[in-house]
Each structure stands twice: as structure tokens, then as C-alpha cells.
Amino acid sequence: MSASLESSLRERVDRIESTPAIPAVFLPLLNLLQSQSSASLDEVARLVAYDHAIAAQCLRVASSPLFGLAKAPESIRAAVVMLGLRRVETILLTCCLGNAFSTRDWPIDAKTFWTHSLGCAMASRRFSAKLACCDSDKAYLAGLLHDIGFMVNCIVFPDETSVAVNLAHERQIPLHQAEVATMGFTHSASGKALAEKWHIADDIVQVIACHHLIEDGRSSSPLVALVHLIDLLCRMRNLGYGYYESHGVDLQGDPAWATLVAENKNFDELDIERFTFEMDDSLAEIHQLVNIIFA
């Protein structure tokens, strides 16, 4: 990407921060989630007290079958006791993100976008928990935010993004390839600009910026490799961008697979077919969650 394009991108991304729709609790929550020392229950409760709608939404999500609680929590405090602080923080952040931006006039259905992001978040968490290759909450956050640049593009480059989406549909090619063909840059570049603006942790910025670059053979961190693979898998299992991508995916032949194998000797033992079938099983729950959060 040229320097002038990058500076124009940053300039446009700057305007996003002044969007009034971002819940006040969003950025402080993001900081809490990324801090090394875990936040206290009081801090989270204090933040959420500013936004009753988010708190109520969080409780509805925590009560969904996905979390398997015998009894629905009645307060954020109760949810933390039942699910743990980190889990509640990630739910809150997910709810905030769903409310953060106006999705009017997006060139794709916003629910489809959030289903992809949430699907990647949940599958990344499950995958990392299975393999112990990355911190699973970090994996969730990385999955949730990896395509945040697409949201940026929808807001600041609506017409150009619309052309890219149409091309992707028409040629049945991956979205980032259509973006390069029509705009000259991808959602990874705009996502990186926003992530840096928001002071998102470096390892997650890497995921946002590089989750498609692995295809070019660039080396990557295990977290980037993980989200790259999960993104591919989701797009092959009805958790993509709502159109048919006419290509096959060889996960085990992907450079990202080699990165994870190098980190985890047991990785080759992973039953990827079974993981795929189990992911299909969670589709209904993911749609249900998206309906609660991003309605």
C-alpha cells in the first residue's frame, strides 16, 4: 500500500472515533481485557453500570444454552460468579461491538458479518482450548476482532466496499482478493489503522493486519496462524460472508498449520474432521447469539 493511501486511510479512520454510537464502556472494557493484571469485579460492574442496555444484553447472552448454566444469572455480579470474570468481559465486549456502529447501508448484511466474527471467535477459543496453543480468551478476542477492518471499510469507504463485495459475489472469490482488485488495499490495512488508534494489544493488531498474509508464505505468530485457519474453516462451513466462495481449502497444507505444528507436537493428531462437525453443531447457537447481541 502506498504512503499516500495509508495516510488517507488513517485520516478517514480518525473520523470513526468521533462516532457517537460507540458505547462509552467499550474502550475501557477493551483495555481491561487486555491488561495483564486481571480486572476486579468491582471495576467491571462500575463500567457496566453506565450502560444498562449492554448489561441486560450481556445477561441474556450468559443465560443462553451455549454457556450451560442451570440458572440464568440475575446480575453482572452473579454472571461473574457463575462464568468467571474473563468470560463475562468477553461477552460484554461482544455486546458493545454489536452496538458500536450504525450498520445502515452496509454492502453486506451486518448480521452475516457478526455471525462470521462471532463464529471465528468461538471456534478460535474452542480450538485453542483443545490444543493449548494460545490463551483461549485471547483467541476469542482475536477471532472477534480479526475482520474489524471490514466494518471500517463499510463505514468510511461504503461505495468502494460495495464494488468489492459485488465482485467477490460475482466471481465467487475471497473478499480480500476482491478488495485488492478494486480498492488496492484490504480490510486488514483499515483494521490495523483502527486497532492502532484504539491501542489494541500488539498481538491482536498482528492478527487483524496479517490474517490473510500467511497465504503469501509470511511467517506468523501462533495466534495469527490460528485465526487464519479458523477464518478459512468458518468460510467453508456456512459461517462466511454469505456467498459461495468457489475454491477448496487444504488446512493441513497451509503454512499456518505448519506454524501450529511447530508450536505443538500433538497438533498433527488433531481430528480436524471431528472439529469441523462439532463446529457445525454450534451453528444454531451462534445464530441465536447473534440474534440476541446484534439484533
Binding site: 467453508m236 462451513r237 462466511g240 468457489s246 477448496g248 487444504d250 481430528d271
Partner: protein
Amino acid sequence: MSVTSSTGVSGAREDTFSLTDPIYRQIRDLIYRVSGIYQPEEKLYLLLNACTRRMQQVKVDNSRTYWNLLMASPNRDPEMRALLNEITIGETCFFRSQPQLDALRNIILPELLKEKSRQIVKRVRIWSAGCSTGEEPHTLAMNLLEESEGRLKGWTVDIQATDLNDRSLEAAKAGIYGHYALRLTPEFYKHKYFSRFDDKHLQVRPEVRNLITFNRLNLRDDARMLFMKGIDVIFCCNVLIYFDGISKTKVVNHFFNDLNSGGYLFLGTSESLMKLNEQFHLMHFPGAISYWKPSHSSTKP
């Protein structure tokens, strides 16, 4: 979801047959380990119904005892086979897996034709192994006929359909089907490729049947399996479950050898190869998985 058996078993409590019973998930895991077939959550009720029918047959009145029968009794192998039979009853129908057909037409076929374009004989060979009463090979033939004026113009398509069962093969050759077999068939295909046989049945038109050669073949017959050479794509859906571990490995190795380099093997939609052959590469397509035999020259792009 909670489903209770409507058939019931004499003396059994209603809640014995509830999906909330963890035994059914244990049985699901056992079936996956033994057969590679995964019962998705939304179809767990089918597993429950199958178990209920088997429990009636063997006169077992609770799920725990049935679990022990599958795990530890001297009859565990025949019982597992009987249960697998119950699970796959009624599985065959036209257009059973649209994602597999889409992958074949949109992704695999263009790739194969490109790969084979330099060959003198322009022929695509597809094998429906364990074709039962013919729904699968007929579906494949109709889909490939749709390409006959496009991608496949100038190409010969040859569909080999084999099964062990003579009666199934006779039915397949006749090509007469009722509503249940056609329940997933789009109207477009019904009108274009079927003619009315009687009030309740349609018959596949000759131009479809002419693409298919039906033959009796036992997949355990090593000598005959060696002759199935030069295949581009194999469909073998819900067949491997009937084989024990050693036979299964042998059949899969035959499939690998019978395929051309760059060819594909499709199994049932929830079925996996369970690493029976490490030479195949697992490939994901939208909504479908397949096993790819690597080309000599290249790795997958």
C-alpha cells in the same frame, strides 16, 4: 431438545428415552470411533430412535444396559453393525448433499478438466461405490448433463455405479422412484430428467441412464478392485461403516490406487476417513469435505 420415544418399550420409563440422557452422546462418540460417522446434534433424535428400535429387538429396557451391550458383551460387534444399519436406513435419496454436488461442479470439475486438457482422450470417470438403488449415480449424471453444453462440451462422461446387492442394482437399472427418494430433488430436475411412470412414481429418462454403467462389485474383492483404474472422483457414502477396521483400510487403499492423481474421494456428509490412509489430503469445500489424492507434480494451490 428433548425427544421421548413414541414407540416406548414395555416396562420402560418415559425418561429412559430422552436426549438429555448422557448415554446417547456416549453412543454418538462410540459410533464415531468405530465408523467415522458423526451424528450432529440436530440429528441426535435419529440416533435415539435407532437405539430405541434396537433395544426393542434385543429386549433391553434401559439405555445403560444397551450401552453395556455395545461396549462389553460378546455380541458387541454384530450389535454395532445392526445399530449402524438402523442409522443409515432411508439415507439414500436424490440430491442428498447439494454442497458435495456444488463442489463437484463448481470447483473440482474445472480443476480436473484443466489438468486433463492435454490428454488425447477427453474423458471424465466417476465411480459411485455402493450405489444402492441408484439415487446417487443418477443425481451425478443429471448434474453432469447440465454441464454437457458448457464445461463438458466435447468430453465423454462415464459413471461407474457398483453395489454388492443384486436386487438394489436391478432397481437402480430400472430407475423408477417414489416421492420419498425424490424429496430433495428440485422441480427443474424432475421436469427435465424424469418421465411419469405411474401415479406415484417417476422414471429417470434414458439419456441419464445411458451415462451410467451398473455392475455388481464387492469392495472386498481385491482382484476386481485392482481393475477399477483411472477414476477421477469416487463417491462412497455411508458404505465403509459396514466394514471392519482391516477391510476398511484395504478398501480405502484401493480407492487411493484407483484414483488418478489429483482425484477426489467423497464420503457421506458426516463421515470421516479417520486417518485410515495418510496419503489422502483432507480438503474443505463450502459445506463439504473431500479427500484429495495429490498430483505428482504439485501440492494443492
